[in-house]
Amino acid sequence: MAGNFFAAVGASVLNLCAEVGGILTLLFRVLICLLPPRFDLDETWRNLHKMGVRSVPIIVLTAFFTGGIMVIQAAVFVKKFGATSLVGWGAGYAVFREIGPMLLGLMFSGRVGSNNTAELGTMVVTEQIDGLRALSIDPVRYLIVPRVLSMIVMLFLLTILGDVVAIVGAALFGTVLADVSLASFWVSFSQNVHVADVTHGLIKAAVFGFIVALTSCHFGITVKGGAVGVGRAVNNAVVAAALGIVLSDYLLTYALP
């Protein structure tokens, strides 16, 4: 009984180490392709479009309501204490530093990361990756590097867009629900939110993009065993990305100004 338990724990730990090792190996191979940069520009362009442009609607929607929800939650206390001069600052600070990058990162992982894992995994099980290798094309250089770059760039840009939309959402909801005029929202926002708050969040966004990219690509290209394997890989990739985002968020919050 106890033996079984320890065997199971041991197997899980070994498994975890193998995955982490796989991700680090992939990271190493991606870096080799980037120093000096040698990768496929067409493929990068295609991915930027697919991952970025097509994510705009969902990101805008999420960000708008996130901004709004924060004000709805705060509205009760804002009214009770008459703290209208804090709404702009509160919304800006929370959105820029934490809620924006974190929520959009998770959203991005669900939309783009899982799609990426499924796509790469399907390419593995239908021998397309072998097909590329047989044509002397390095799958890391041709498929992985463009995806990693696209995800970092696009999560960064989408977070800028999301931040703006969330603030607009917060201001509108504040006017309607908490009787905070747009002017006082703006004064509170512009006087208290600093550039450092924005850069703090954007650095996080780039790191989250990198984490989503590495985990989704790693689980995608290591798929084994048909459609079931692809399903399992997508599942693992999303869980790993979420864990990575939360952990790195914790560390970055300490490390960044």
Partner: protein, 246 residues
């Protein structure tokens, strides 16, 4: 052209190829046959360096392929065209782009219209004119196979490996495909390795046969000698008998 000496390969801790010793002369046409899961496809992939054998030597055109790191295998793979068993068409590219892809990668400076013309010519040869703009997912099984053949042959590589070139095709199309492959071979004097379970059609096309069973060679020699082979597995398989060791 290709020399295998005592090749052994394991996949997921199971032996898949055992002591394969095989010499392929330039310009010869080989057929690989054998029961399912005997390692035919794995052997084909090993020949173009997609699997690295655990033991033995594999020399392709004078180069020790397994000894090369992945990036350096490029110069060997450029000499090979491969049709995969399940075609491995790139589903992010249209039919024409799929066929032109190897050519475009090998000749980055080739003008676009020449690429398109060469790909269209190859599609016409496999009887698929008019399907240029389709996506692979919109094709039938036989059409996919023919696109795969067009892609494998477009670079006129000196070594061509076809894994099941006629699986799922009717007898008429099968004959047409073998005529096409024969024509290509004569025109470019290429070395050809074909895997097929359609043994009568295959035997018309090849002049040598390699018989694999559980990763081991059971027969390796001229096509005409297959009938006379006394190995019980080969005997039963070639005659399609139900009684026997298989």
């Amino acid at each position: 052209m290709i020399h295998c000496d005592g090749l052994c390969l394991q996949l997921t801790h199971r032996p898949v190829l055992a002591d394969v010793t095989w010499h392929i002369e330039a310009g010869s046409v080989w057929g690989i046959i054998g029961p399912p899961a005997s390692g035919k496809s794995v052997l084909a992939k090993t020949l173009c360096g997609l699997f690295t054998p655990r033991q033995g030597r594999l020399i392709v055109d004078g180069v020790d392929l397994p000894g090369l790191p992945e990036p350096d295998r490029v110069r060997v793979r450029r000499k090979m065209g491969m049709l995969f068993q399940n075609n491995a068409l790139f589903d992010f590219l249209r039919v024409l782009e799929n066929v032109a892809f190897p050519l475009a990668r090998q000749n980055p400076k080739m003008p676009q219209d020449e690429l398109v013309a060469r790909a269209q010519e190859r599609l016409r040869a496999v009887g698929l004119s008019g399907s240029e703009e389709k996506w692979p997912s919109e094709l039938s099984g036989g059409m996919k196979k023919r696109v795969g053949i067009a892609r494998a042959t477009i670079c006129n590589a000196p070594v061509l490996i076809y894994d099941e070139p006629t699986a799922g095709l009717d007898p008429v199309t099968t004959s047409k495909i073998y005529d096409l492959l024969t024509g290509l071979r004569q025109k470019h004097a290429s070395t050809v390795i074909a895997i097929s379970s359609d043994i009568p059609a295959l035997r018309h096309f090849v002049d040598h046969i390699l018989f694999l069973h559980q990763g081991r060679i059971r027969y390796c020699g001229p096509e005409s000698g297959l009938e006379a082979c006394e190995d019980p597995v080969v005997y039963q398989f070639v005659r399609g008998q139900t009684e026997g060791p298989l």
